[in-house]
Symmetry: C2
Subunit: 178 residues, 2 copies
DNA sequence: CTGCATGCAAAGACTTTGCAAGAGA
DNA sequence: TCTCTTGCAAAGTCTTTGCATGCAG
């Protein structure tokens, strides 16, 4: 595979720096590091899964029962503002958040319309084309958002889809992070 | 400009077929052509602008006062199901709809973060790369959704942005369609 | 200490839906 | 006529916010 440098889970090790970078972000804005914020941030950067506000609340509460829904909703904008997490719209009516922008600031999503699984990937070639198109239209590209939707070839041929395999990461099936 | 075949307004003439194609879609599903649906559909396909449910309601009511909010919300899914209109998320909290998929089924959006204007474009090269990436990951690409965000070069150099010019079409500033 | 942050509950924004009346085909 | 559609208003879902209390720096 050439051009696509990254697919799937990046593991927890790399993501650790996401947490630290967010703490630095907070410090830079003279914002306080409260127990609740710590619980939320640790939750977010200990997973590579996409999540909703509701899921984040449930997960963060396991670390600190005192985390409230309001604080989750107040922290989410900080996370997106830091650039380490980004809002995603899967047309499901609620906003999903992707914590993988800390390690992969320019990745894209391929969504399987059969099993709803999501594969993350990066493409240098597409990034270059985007910059080029932006230039031609008179803009300096600052970021991009690409979702490719497709159907699973394996499912079509074999009647089952390997993405249903729980080992595949970054799926839309949102389990609990540890 | 090569690769990008289309930018900006496509005019009303081409869009007329959007309406007819939707009426055919209704007929194919044995759905009735009511006065309210007609007003909504004529509104949608007489503009190239992106709109919200609320705006569509206001506009459609000018053609037929009897159009209700409920009918707008019930018709929107039919429009998206037909493939002639697509939901768009600009992170504004509400869903926007783009009626330009009838004429340009695979176009993308460039969004200016300075003036919020939106330029539509098509790129054959990117489309090919997407298909290629999909294949490598084991999927048959059925559709894509690409948003490029950038800052306006002109604004940076001259202190003003030509996209503020009302002549530029498909802008985020949603005026009334005729 | 001082002011930012929090939890709670109420409010808000947008969208969906049950139901009786209305109207295409 | 026979259903599919509609308008209305109530309900639903997700998110934001006012306020008194709490706590980090």
């Amino acid at each position: 595979m050439r051009g696509e440098k990254y697919t799937g889970d990046v593991g927890e090790t790399q993501n650790k720096c996401g947490k630290q970078r967010f703490l630095d972000f907070l410090g830079g804005k003279r914002l306080r590091l409260t127990a609740q914020r710590r619980a939320i941030v640790e939750t977010v950067f200990s997973t590579t899964q996409h999540f909703t506000a509701d899921q984040l609340l449930a997960w963060a509460r396991k670390r600190d029962r005192s985390v409230s829904r309001a604080t989750v909703y107040r922290t989410l904008p900080l996370l997106t503002e830091s650039g380490l997490v980004r809002e995603m719209d899967f047309g499901k009516g609620q906003t999903y958040y992707d914590p993988n922008y800390a390690d992969h600031p320019n990745h894209s999503h391929l969504i399987c319309e059969d099993c709803e699984k999501i594969v993350e990937f990066e493409s240098e070639k597409i990034a270059r084309l985007e910059t080029e198109i932006g230039q031609k239209l008179g803009f300096s590209v600052t970021r991009q958002r690409l979702q490719i939707t497709g159907s699973c070839d394996e499912l079509k041929k074999r009647g089952t889809c390997k993405n249903l395999d729980p080992r595949s990461a970054n799926s839309a099936a949102l389990h609990e992070p540890r």
